[in-house]
Symmetry: C2
DNA sequence: TTGTACGCGTTATCAA
DNA sequence: TTGATAACGCGTACAA
């Protein structure tokens, strides 16, 4: 009974209508469960629609309604275990509200980031969720997007005060807390392996470290703070640089901007023939899936990744469906996880 | 100069045309770089289009062309470290060819799987990439999809011989090889922690284990093969069941269908006060990011996840763009990774 | 080189 | 309760 159709084999309202000798509008009404359609004709329509394998064409619907029920998700590195959890949270929240997500990975490259966002806009996503790889200097790009009216919510790596909501964690105070933990354990010579400080988490976490050091009257030697990427390679190189210092000029503890950086640093320490925490203590930030498993289990800050994703998606969808939804910065609560790498 | 527009602030061809007093077709031609348009008018058009912030509406384009440059990706569990790598491979291949991906996570639930695929079809994706959670019994669902003409490529967890290509690894021979490794190390009482055997990887990997045992004339006690889920909980319960056997009726080595199952089993072993590999040796499959880090580093099979994703996306796009592309089963090559958990 | 008419699949609106 | 018409934004096919 199946005839070959031109349109990829997809049945249209018109075709269903033709079979029953009614108008497409009647079919449309029946299928969308509108009130004003006769019970019997409705039944007939639903039956034959099903029989013919009709599925509504959401592309056409979107063209009419200017609504795609689609959101774009832009993340820097899906291999970093924090992000799959976030994506899972976004996913579940979005699906519950009948949205689909376009996932794009930028490999921490801002040019790619701009390109994919332009592609998402062309596809007329209803809004975008962004964890940016970018430095503050190019905040103009996002200002333009926000000005254009496209709903945008940042998560994890945010630009604040430019008119978009931000869902993150208490980076500053958590970083302060974990640094204090090192101080309380007796360390005074504490270095910092920083990520790009133009990105919110880079800046905030570094700020927390500085605050803790200042508060306890501890000096920060300029050479103890090294800025590099957010990944293993970044941590490896940063620690390598630290290790070029003569032993007595070196810190005997370091805080890392995140766990991957801490793992990279641990590799560098091991390769230098040194031990964690005996020679150098180290703490991270994230609670990566590997944090408790490495040779010297990593003291770190647990981030509620799944909840960040859920909250970010929920906030974005609210913003999409009610443009008067207010802009806010949400800081979810982290938890200090003490393991062996800080000498506990 | 910006007037509020009705359509979410998106500029249309018509609006650009109106500003310059030309027809929409001329604007369309200029923007799509068609040959037949005067150089000067073209320049003017491009300038004002840019000034007005014109972006082509891909929704409208898709309606005309029946092509969305979008593919749906269906995975069972994004938290399992194998999948983010696969997604990364899919992502990069797809973006290179100008496709976007809809990512959906089914949490290993077949009802969810069907629901999201229906949603993807309604959005008129050009094709779908599926790693199924489903058992062979409901192969009919996929047969219908394939019959409908929607391009479909399976990866990792496949249904074979139903008309869709499948990108996986040499599950059978790799499982046989790792089981033989246990045998060569002197183990004779080897159990198997299986996943659902209706899924291709469940069946193939189990088959490899059986083949290795048979080949070496080793007996498989029925009670040594436990079927459960593909995750930590599944492995934990399966091993728990094995441990209820009296010690001398118990295997002293087990092969797990994948690494998460092996990790769960290790937890159960530890909780029973036993040691890996001294009391029970264990091997996995996947080379999860944690495999080398756990207390007793896991001997396992490395799967080229990124390449699986890349190849799957490439095959799907080829199938989309040339419907005569032939159906094929691709088996990428794995590598045995020997660590301590098998007593090496 | 440029413009007009029409259709993609759907729904809002108004008329019957 | 039902149907005809127009519109969403764009591109093909044809005419000017």
């Amino acid at each position: 009974m199946k005839k070959p159709k031109e349109n990829n084999g997809n049945v249209t309202l018109k075709e269903v209508a033709a079979v029953l000798g009614v108008s497409t509008m009647t079919v449309s009404r029946a299928i969308n469960d509108k009130p004003n359609v006769d019970a019997l004709t409705k039944k007939k329509i639903l039956d034959t629609a099903k029989k013919m394998g009709y599925t509504p064409n959401l592309v056409a619907k979107s063209l009419v309604s200017s609504k795609t029920y689609t959101i774009g998700v832009v993340i820097p590195e899906i291999s970093h275990s924090f992000f799959p959890e976030v994506v899972k949270g976004i996913q579940e929240e979005a699906n519950k509200k009948n949205y689909q997500i376009f996932l794009t990975n930028t490999s921490d490259d801002f040019e790619t980031e701009k390109k994919v966002i332009d592609a998402l806009r062309a596809k007329r996503v209803d809004g975008i969720l962004v964890s940016s790889s970018q430095t503050k200097e190019d905040v103009g790009y996002y200002q333009k997007i926000i000005a254009s009216g496209l709903p945008l919510v940042f998560f994890d790596r945010c630009f604040e005060n430019i008119g978009a909501s931000c869902i993150g964690v208490n980076d500053f105070s958590a970083s302060q807390q974990i640094t204090e933990h090192l101080i309380n354990r007796g360390y005074k010579r504490i270095g910092y392996l920083s990520g790009p400080r133009k990105v919110s988490i880079g800046k905030e976490r570094f700020g927390g470290y500085v605050a803790a050091m200042n508060q306890h009257g501890l000096e920060i030697d300029d050479r103890w703070v090294i800025e590099n990427g957010f990944n293993e390679a970044g941590g490896y190189h940063a620690m390598g640089k630290l290790l070029t210092l003569p032993e007595k000029a070196r810190p005997n503890a370091v805080a890392a901007v995140n766990d991957p950086v801490a793992f990279g640093a641990m590799d560098a320490i091991r390769e230098a023939g040194l031990k964690v925490p005996d020679d150098i203590a180290i703490v991270g930030f994230t609670n990566d899936i590997r944090a408790g498993l490495v040779a010297s289990p990593l003291t770190t800050v647990h981030q509620p990744a799944y909840e960040v994703g859920k909250k970010a998606a929920s906030k974005l969808i609210k913003t999409i469906e009610d443009r008067t939804e207010r802009v806010e910065n949400v800081q979810l609560i982290t938890k200090l996880i003490i393991r062996k790498s800080c000498g506990s």
